[in-house]
Amino acid sequence: MLDDELLSTHLQELRRGTVVLACLLILRRPNYGYALLDLLDRRGFAVDANTLYPLLRRLEKQGLLTSDWNTGEARPRKFYRTSGRGVALADTLSRDWDELDTALRTLKGES
Protein backbone atom coordinates (compact mmCIF):
# COMPACT_ATOMS: atom_id res chain seq x y z
CA MET A 1 0.00 0.00 0.00
CA LEU A 2 1.25 3.50 -0.81
CA ASP A 3 1.58 5.76 2.17
CA ASP A 4 -0.46 8.96 2.11
CA GLU A 5 2.45 11.37 1.91
CA LEU A 6 4.02 9.65 -1.07
CA LEU A 7 0.67 9.43 -2.83
CA SER A 8 -0.19 13.08 -2.27
CA THR A 9 3.25 14.21 -3.47
CA HIS A 10 2.88 12.33 -6.76
CA LEU A 11 -0.72 13.38 -7.27
CA GLN A 12 0.27 16.98 -6.69
CA GLU A 13 3.10 16.68 -9.22
CA LEU A 14 0.79 15.12 -11.79
CA ARG A 15 -1.92 17.76 -11.37
CA ARG A 16 0.30 20.79 -11.08
CA GLY A 17 -0.37 22.32 -14.49
CA THR A 18 -3.98 21.27 -14.79
CA VAL A 19 -5.28 24.09 -12.58
CA VAL A 20 -4.15 26.68 -15.14
CA LEU A 21 -5.92 24.85 -17.95
CA ALA A 22 -9.06 24.43 -15.83
CA CYS A 23 -9.07 28.16 -15.00
CA LEU A 24 -8.64 29.16 -18.64
CA LEU A 25 -11.52 26.85 -19.63
CA ILE A 26 -13.89 27.91 -16.83
CA LEU A 27 -13.16 31.62 -17.26
CA ARG A 28 -14.35 31.65 -20.85
CA ARG A 29 -17.41 32.81 -18.92
CA PRO A 30 -16.38 35.67 -16.58
CA ASN A 31 -16.21 34.85 -12.92
CA TYR A 32 -14.62 36.07 -9.67
CA GLY A 33 -12.05 34.55 -7.34
CA TYR A 34 -14.11 32.85 -4.68
CA ALA A 35 -16.72 31.47 -7.10
CA LEU A 36 -13.92 30.09 -9.26
CA LEU A 37 -12.35 28.43 -6.21
CA ASP A 38 -15.70 26.83 -5.42
CA LEU A 39 -16.23 25.70 -9.03
CA LEU A 40 -12.73 24.19 -9.28
CA ASP A 41 -13.30 22.37 -6.02
CA ARG A 42 -16.58 20.91 -7.20
CA ARG A 43 -15.05 19.84 -10.53
CA GLY A 44 -12.32 17.95 -8.67
CA PHE A 45 -9.47 20.46 -9.07
CA ALA A 46 -8.61 20.96 -5.42
CA VAL A 47 -6.56 24.15 -5.12
CA ASP A 48 -5.77 26.36 -2.14
CA ALA A 49 -7.12 29.91 -2.06
CA ASN A 50 -3.64 31.27 -1.40
CA THR A 51 -2.41 29.57 -4.58
CA LEU A 52 -5.36 30.47 -6.79
CA TYR A 53 -5.60 34.20 -6.07
CA PRO A 54 -1.97 34.98 -6.91
CA LEU A 55 -2.25 32.62 -9.92
CA LEU A 56 -5.14 34.66 -11.36
CA ARG A 57 -3.03 37.83 -11.08
CA ARG A 58 -0.10 36.10 -12.76
CA LEU A 59 -2.24 34.88 -15.65
CA GLU A 60 -3.65 38.37 -16.03
CA LYS A 61 -0.15 39.83 -16.11
CA GLN A 62 0.76 37.31 -18.82
CA GLY A 63 -2.19 38.53 -20.88
CA LEU A 64 -4.07 35.23 -20.64
CA LEU A 65 -6.90 36.70 -18.56
CA THR A 66 -8.55 40.10 -18.55
CA SER A 67 -10.32 41.57 -15.54
CA ASP A 68 -13.08 44.02 -14.74
CA TRP A 69 -14.46 45.32 -11.49
CA ASN A 70 -18.15 44.60 -11.17
CA THR A 71 -19.50 47.26 -8.85
CA GLY A 72 -23.15 46.69 -9.67
CA GLU A 73 -23.74 44.42 -6.69
CA ALA A 74 -23.51 45.17 -2.98
CA ARG A 75 -20.00 43.69 -2.83
CA PRO A 76 -17.65 44.85 -5.61
CA ARG A 77 -15.88 41.87 -7.15
CA LYS A 78 -13.09 41.50 -9.64
CA PHE A 79 -14.28 39.40 -12.58
CA TYR A 80 -11.74 37.55 -14.66
CA ARG A 81 -12.24 36.42 -18.24
CA THR A 82 -10.06 34.34 -20.53
CA SER A 83 -8.52 36.56 -23.23
CA GLY A 84 -7.95 35.65 -26.88
CA ARG A 85 -4.41 34.59 -26.01
CA GLY A 86 -5.77 32.60 -23.09
CA VAL A 87 -8.21 30.74 -25.34
CA ALA A 88 -5.39 29.94 -27.76
CA LEU A 89 -3.22 28.64 -24.91
CA ALA A 90 -6.13 26.60 -23.54
CA ASP A 91 -6.56 24.98 -26.99
CA THR A 92 -2.88 24.11 -27.19
CA LEU A 93 -2.80 22.75 -23.64
CA SER A 94 -5.99 20.73 -24.24
CA ARG A 95 -4.51 19.19 -27.37
CA ASP A 96 -1.35 18.33 -25.45
CA TRP A 97 -3.45 16.77 -22.68
CA ASP A 98 -5.32 14.66 -25.25
CA GLU A 99 -2.06 13.52 -26.80
CA LEU A 100 -0.74 12.57 -23.37
CA ASP A 101 -3.94 10.69 -22.70
CA THR A 102 -3.62 8.77 -25.98
CA ALA A 103 0.04 8.03 -25.26
CA LEU A 104 -0.79 6.75 -21.78
CA ARG A 105 -3.58 4.57 -23.12
CA THR A 106 -1.15 3.08 -25.62
CA LEU A 107 1.33 2.40 -22.84
CA LYS A 108 -1.34 0.76 -20.69
CA GLY A 109 -2.52 -1.34 -23.65
CA GLU A 110 1.02 -2.56 -24.31
CA SER A 111 1.65 -3.86 -20.81
Binding site: Y34, D48, Y53, L55, R58, R75, K78
Partner: protein
Protein backbone atom coordinates in the same frame (compact mmCIF):
# COMPACT_ATOMS: atom_id res chain seq x y z
CA UNK B 1 -18.56 41.11 14.55
CA UNK B 2 -16.10 43.82 15.67
CA UNK B 3 -13.38 41.41 16.85
CA UNK B 4 -13.81 39.27 13.73
CA UNK B 5 -13.50 42.25 11.38
CA UNK B 6 -10.42 43.39 13.28
CA UNK B 7 -8.89 39.97 12.57
CA UNK B 8 -9.54 40.38 8.82
CA UNK B 9 -8.15 43.91 8.91
CA UNK B 10 -5.01 42.67 10.58
CA UNK B 11 -4.67 39.86 8.06
CA UNK B 12 -5.11 42.17 5.04
CA UNK B 13 -2.71 44.72 6.52
CA UNK B 14 -0.11 42.04 7.13
CA UNK B 15 -0.41 40.79 3.55
CA UNK B 16 -0.31 44.25 1.96
CA UNK B 17 2.74 45.32 3.96
CA UNK B 18 4.86 42.99 1.80
CA UNK B 19 3.54 44.34 -1.50
CA UNK B 20 4.55 47.29 -3.69
CA UNK B 21 2.38 50.32 -2.95
CA UNK B 22 0.86 50.58 -6.44
CA UNK B 23 -0.53 47.01 -6.25
CA UNK B 24 -2.06 47.47 -2.80
CA UNK B 25 -5.47 49.08 -3.42
CA UNK B 26 -6.53 46.58 -6.07
CA UNK B 27 -5.32 43.53 -4.17
CA UNK B 28 -6.83 44.78 -0.92
CA UNK B 29 -10.23 45.22 -2.53
CA UNK B 30 -10.14 41.78 -4.11
CA UNK B 31 -8.75 40.05 -1.03
CA UNK B 32 -11.41 41.59 1.22
CA UNK B 33 -14.15 40.54 -1.19
CA UNK B 34 -12.76 37.00 -1.38
CA UNK B 35 -12.57 36.70 2.41
CA UNK B 36 -16.08 38.11 2.79
CA UNK B 37 -17.39 35.64 0.16
CA UNK B 38 -15.77 32.71 1.92
CA UNK B 39 -17.07 33.79 5.33
CA UNK B 40 -20.56 34.29 3.92
CA UNK B 41 -20.45 30.80 2.45
CA UNK B 42 -19.66 29.33 5.85
CA UNK B 43 -22.37 31.38 7.53
CA UNK B 44 -24.91 30.11 5.00
CA UNK B 45 -23.87 26.60 5.94
CA UNK B 46 -24.76 27.47 9.56
CA UNK B 47 -21.41 28.48 11.05
CA UNK B 48 -20.59 30.92 13.84
CA UNK B 49 -19.35 34.31 12.50
CA UNK B 50 -16.16 34.37 14.58
CA UNK B 51 -15.37 30.74 13.84
CA UNK B 52 -16.07 31.21 10.13
CA UNK B 53 -13.68 34.16 9.95
CA UNK B 54 -11.02 32.25 11.83
CA UNK B 55 -11.38 29.21 9.56
CA UNK B 56 -11.18 31.29 6.36
CA UNK B 57 -8.07 33.16 7.48
CA UNK B 58 -6.48 29.94 8.66
CA UNK B 59 -7.18 28.48 5.23
CA UNK B 60 -5.48 31.43 3.53
CA UNK B 61 -2.35 30.78 5.58
CA UNK B 62 0.59 33.05 6.40
CA UNK B 63 -0.12 36.49 4.87
CA UNK B 64 3.58 36.90 4.01
CA UNK B 65 3.38 33.73 1.91
CA UNK B 66 0.26 35.00 0.16
CA UNK B 67 1.99 38.33 -0.52
CA UNK B 68 5.03 36.51 -1.95
CA UNK B 69 2.63 34.75 -4.32
CA UNK B 70 1.11 38.06 -5.43
CA UNK B 71 4.50 39.72 -5.87
CA UNK B 72 5.98 36.61 -7.54
CA UNK B 73 8.82 36.60 -5.02
CA UNK B 74 10.86 33.47 -4.32
CA UNK B 75 10.43 31.92 -0.87
CA UNK B 76 14.06 30.79 -0.73
CA UNK B 77 17.37 32.58 -0.37
CA UNK B 78 19.17 30.79 -3.20
CA UNK B 79 17.25 28.62 -5.65
CA UNK B 80 18.23 25.36 -7.35
CA UNK B 81 19.51 27.17 -10.47
CA UNK B 82 22.22 29.01 -8.52
CA UNK B 83 22.76 26.66 -5.58
CA UNK B 84 25.59 24.60 -7.08
CA UNK B 85 27.48 27.65 -8.29
CA UNK B 86 27.08 29.15 -4.83
CA UNK B 87 28.40 26.13 -2.92
CA UNK B 88 31.30 25.68 -5.37
CA UNK B 89 32.46 29.27 -5.13
CA UNK B 90 32.02 29.41 -1.37
CA UNK B 91 33.98 26.17 -0.83
CA UNK B 92 36.76 27.31 -3.14
CA UNK B 93 37.07 30.62 -1.32
CA UNK B 94 36.90 29.11 2.16
CA UNK B 95 39.55 26.44 1.67
CA UNK B 96 42.06 28.91 0.23
CA UNK B 97 41.46 32.42 1.49
CA UNK B 98 40.84 31.44 5.13
CA UNK B 99 44.18 29.62 5.59
CA UNK B 100 45.97 32.36 3.66
CA UNK B 101 44.43 35.13 5.78
CA UNK B 102 45.29 33.23 8.97
CA UNK B 103 48.88 32.74 7.77
CA UNK B 104 49.32 36.38 6.83
CA UNK B 105 48.00 37.58 10.20
CA UNK B 106 50.24 35.04 11.95
CA UNK B 107 53.20 36.38 9.97
CA UNK B 108 52.44 40.01 10.78
CA UNK B 109 52.07 39.28 14.49
CA UNK B 110 55.19 37.10 14.47
CA UNK B 111 57.20 39.83 12.73
CA UNK B 112 56.22 42.40 15.31
CA UNK B 113 57.63 39.99 17.88
CA UNK B 114 56.95 40.29 21.62
CA UNK B 115 53.80 38.15 21.50
CA UNK B 116 53.32 34.92 23.41
CA UNK B 117 52.62 31.73 21.47
CA UNK B 118 49.13 31.48 23.01
CA UNK B 119 48.35 35.04 21.95
CA UNK B 120 49.67 34.34 18.45
CA UNK B 121 47.50 31.21 18.08
CA UNK B 122 44.50 33.15 19.38
CA UNK B 123 45.05 35.93 16.84
CA UNK B 124 45.49 33.45 13.98
CA UNK B 125 42.30 31.55 14.89
CA UNK B 126 40.45 34.84 15.29
CA UNK B 127 41.61 35.97 11.85
CA UNK B 128 40.55 32.65 10.29
CA UNK B 129 37.11 32.92 11.89
CA UNK B 130 36.66 36.55 10.80
CA UNK B 131 37.77 35.78 7.25
CA UNK B 132 35.44 32.75 7.08
CA UNK B 133 32.42 34.67 8.39
CA UNK B 134 33.03 37.58 6.00
CA UNK B 135 33.47 35.28 2.99
CA UNK B 136 30.34 33.31 3.82
CA UNK B 137 28.26 36.41 4.47
CA UNK B 138 29.26 38.45 1.41
CA UNK B 139 29.17 35.50 -0.99
CA UNK B 140 25.70 34.58 0.27
CA UNK B 141 24.52 38.18 0.02
CA UNK B 142 25.71 38.50 -3.60
CA UNK B 143 23.95 35.27 -4.56
CA UNK B 144 20.75 36.31 -2.76
CA UNK B 145 20.75 39.54 -4.78
CA UNK B 146 21.44 37.68 -8.04
CA UNK B 147 18.56 35.30 -7.23
CA UNK B 148 16.24 38.32 -6.95
CA UNK B 149 17.43 40.15 -10.07
CA UNK B 150 15.98 38.58 -13.20
CA UNK B 151 18.69 39.77 -15.60
CA UNK B 152 21.56 38.85 -13.26
CA UNK B 153 20.01 35.43 -12.69
CA UNK B 154 19.87 34.74 -16.41
CA UNK B 155 23.48 35.85 -16.83
CA UNK B 156 24.68 33.79 -13.86
CA UNK B 157 23.05 30.51 -14.89
CA UNK B 158 24.97 29.22 -17.86
CA UNK B 159 23.90 25.89 -19.31
CA UNK B 160 26.13 23.08 -18.18
CA UNK B 161 28.36 21.41 -20.77
CA UNK B 162 30.58 18.34 -20.45
CA UNK B 163 33.56 20.68 -20.79
CA UNK B 164 32.97 21.64 -17.14
CA UNK B 165 33.62 18.07 -15.98
CA UNK B 166 36.51 17.63 -13.54
CA UNK B 167 39.76 17.02 -15.42
CA UNK B 168 41.02 13.49 -14.93
CA UNK B 169 44.30 14.17 -13.11
CA UNK B 170 47.00 13.19 -15.57
CA UNK B 171 48.71 10.84 -13.18
CA UNK B 172 51.99 10.75 -15.03
CA UNK B 173 52.32 14.55 -15.14
CA UNK B 174 51.38 14.86 -11.50
CA UNK B 175 53.75 12.06 -10.60
CA UNK B 176 56.56 13.97 -12.31
CA UNK B 177 55.78 16.96 -10.10
CA UNK B 178 55.90 14.79 -7.01
CA UNK B 179 59.25 13.28 -7.97
CA UNK B 180 60.68 16.76 -8.64
CA UNK B 181 59.38 17.95 -5.28
CA UNK B 182 60.89 14.93 -3.49
CA UNK B 183 64.31 15.31 -5.14
CA UNK B 184 64.28 19.03 -4.39
CA UNK B 185 63.47 18.29 -0.76
CA UNK B 186 66.37 15.83 -0.40
CA UNK B 187 68.89 18.23 -2.02
CA UNK B 188 67.57 21.18 -0.03
CA UNK B 189 67.69 19.32 3.31
CA UNK B 190 71.14 18.02 2.59
CA UNK B 191 72.35 21.53 1.78
CA UNK B 192 70.88 22.95 4.97
CA UNK B 193 72.18 20.22 7.23
CA UNK B 194 75.67 20.21 5.72
CA UNK B 195 76.00 24.00 5.44
CA UNK B 196 77.59 24.58 8.89
CA UNK B 197 80.52 22.26 8.12
CA UNK B 198 80.75 21.94 4.34
CA UNK B 199 81.61 25.56 3.64
CA UNK B 200 84.15 27.60 1.72
CA UNK B 201 85.06 29.95 4.56
CA UNK B 202 86.78 29.48 7.88
CA UNK B 203 87.19 31.83 10.81
CA UNK B 204 90.40 32.92 12.52
CA UNK B 205 90.66 29.59 14.41
CA UNK B 206 90.25 27.62 11.20
CA UNK B 207 86.72 26.53 12.19
CA UNK B 208 84.19 26.43 9.35
CA UNK B 209 81.77 29.36 8.99
CA UNK B 210 78.38 28.31 7.63
CA UNK B 211 76.42 30.47 5.22
CA UNK B 212 73.25 30.08 7.34
CA UNK B 213 72.83 31.76 10.69
CA UNK B 214 73.92 29.50 13.61
CA UNK B 215 70.98 30.82 15.58
CA UNK B 216 68.72 28.69 13.35
CA UNK B 217 70.31 25.62 14.93
CA UNK B 218 70.43 27.01 18.44
CA UNK B 219 66.70 27.80 18.39
CA UNK B 220 65.76 24.59 16.57
CA UNK B 221 63.93 26.60 13.87
CA UNK B 222 65.86 24.83 11.14
CA UNK B 223 64.51 21.41 12.20
CA UNK B 224 60.99 22.85 12.47
CA UNK B 225 61.32 24.27 8.97
CA UNK B 226 62.54 20.98 7.49
CA UNK B 227 59.67 19.21 9.26
CA UNK B 228 57.21 21.66 7.65
CA UNK B 229 58.62 21.05 4.18
CA UNK B 230 58.39 17.28 4.71
CA UNK B 231 54.76 17.61 5.88
CA UNK B 232 53.99 19.72 2.79
CA UNK B 233 55.48 17.00 0.60
CA UNK B 234 53.38 14.42 2.44
CA UNK B 235 50.25 16.41 1.64
CA UNK B 236 51.25 16.66 -2.01
CA UNK B 237 51.28 12.85 -2.09
CA UNK B 238 47.99 12.73 -0.18
CA UNK B 239 46.38 15.13 -2.67
CA UNK B 240 47.66 12.97 -5.50
CA UNK B 241 46.22 9.72 -4.18
CA UNK B 242 43.15 10.76 -2.18
CA UNK B 243 39.87 12.22 -3.37
CA UNK B 244 39.33 15.94 -2.84
CA UNK B 245 37.71 16.75 0.49
CA UNK B 246 37.37 19.91 2.54
CA UNK B 247 39.56 18.76 5.47
CA UNK B 248 42.28 17.55 3.09
CA UNK B 249 42.14 20.77 1.05
CA UNK B 250 42.38 22.99 4.15
CA UNK B 251 45.16 20.91 5.71
CA UNK B 252 47.02 20.80 2.38
CA UNK B 253 46.77 24.57 1.94
CA UNK B 254 48.01 25.11 5.51
CA UNK B 255 50.89 22.68 4.99
CA UNK B 256 51.95 24.59 1.86
CA UNK B 257 51.52 27.99 3.45
CA UNK B 258 53.36 27.24 6.72
CA UNK B 259 56.94 26.86 5.34
CA UNK B 260 56.48 29.83 2.97
CA UNK B 261 55.31 32.08 5.78
CA UNK B 262 58.09 30.84 8.08
CA UNK B 263 60.68 31.58 5.39
CA UNK B 264 59.31 35.09 4.86
CA UNK B 265 59.43 35.67 8.59
CA UNK B 266 63.05 34.42 8.85
CA UNK B 267 64.14 36.45 5.83
CA UNK B 268 62.48 39.70 6.88
CA UNK B 269 63.89 39.48 10.42
CA UNK B 270 67.40 38.76 9.04
CA UNK B 271 67.66 35.34 10.60
CA UNK B 272 68.61 33.35 7.52
CA UNK B 273 72.17 34.37 6.68
CA UNK B 274 75.21 34.23 8.91
CA UNK B 275 76.70 37.76 9.18
CA UNK B 276 80.10 36.18 9.92
CA UNK B 277 79.98 34.36 6.58
CA UNK B 278 79.17 37.55 4.67
CA UNK B 279 82.08 39.22 6.38
CA UNK B 280 84.48 36.33 5.72
CA UNK B 281 83.41 36.18 2.08
CA UNK B 282 83.84 39.94 1.73
CA UNK B 283 80.28 40.52 0.52
CA UNK B 284 79.10 44.08 0.08
CA UNK B 285 76.10 44.95 2.28
CA UNK B 286 73.85 44.77 -0.80
CA UNK B 287 74.33 41.05 -1.33
CA UNK B 288 72.56 39.78 1.80
CA UNK B 289 69.74 42.21 1.09
CA UNK B 290 69.32 40.81 -2.41
CA UNK B 291 69.33 37.24 -1.11
CA UNK B 292 66.70 38.17 1.50
CA UNK B 293 64.51 39.87 -1.11
CA UNK B 294 64.84 36.83 -3.38
CA UNK B 295 63.76 34.47 -0.58
CA UNK B 296 60.73 36.65 0.19
CA UNK B 297 59.79 36.81 -3.49
CA UNK B 298 60.05 33.04 -3.95
CA UNK B 299 57.93 32.48 -0.82
CA UNK B 300 55.34 35.01 -1.98
CA UNK B 301 55.06 33.30 -5.37
CA UNK B 302 54.67 29.95 -3.58
CA UNK B 303 51.86 31.43 -1.43
CA UNK B 304 50.10 32.79 -4.50
CA UNK B 305 50.44 29.42 -6.24
CA UNK B 306 48.95 27.65 -3.22
CA UNK B 307 45.89 29.92 -3.26
CA UNK B 308 45.27 29.75 -7.03
CA UNK B 309 45.82 26.00 -7.16
CA UNK B 310 43.53 25.53 -4.17
CA UNK B 311 40.75 27.47 -5.93
CA UNK B 312 41.22 25.55 -9.17
CA UNK B 313 41.15 22.20 -7.41
CA UNK B 314 38.09 23.10 -5.36
CA UNK B 315 36.18 24.24 -8.44
CA UNK B 316 37.13 21.24 -10.54
CA UNK B 317 36.80 18.52 -7.98
Amino acid sequence: MTTASTLTDRYVDAALRHLPARQRPDIERELRASIADAVEDRLDAGGEPAEAELAVLTGLGDPARLAAGYADRPLHLIGPALYLGYTRLLTALLVTVVPAAAAIVGLMRGLRGDVTVARLIGDVLGAALTAGVHLAFWTTLVFVIIERTATARRAATRPWTPAALPEPPSRRARYGELITQSVALVLFTTFILLSPTATTRTDAHGDPVGILSPRLWESGVVYLFIAMVIVALGFSFAKHYLRWSVPLAVAGSLADIAPAVTLIWLAVTDRVLNPAFAEAAGWSPGVPRWITTGLVAVSAVSLLHTVTEGITRARHR
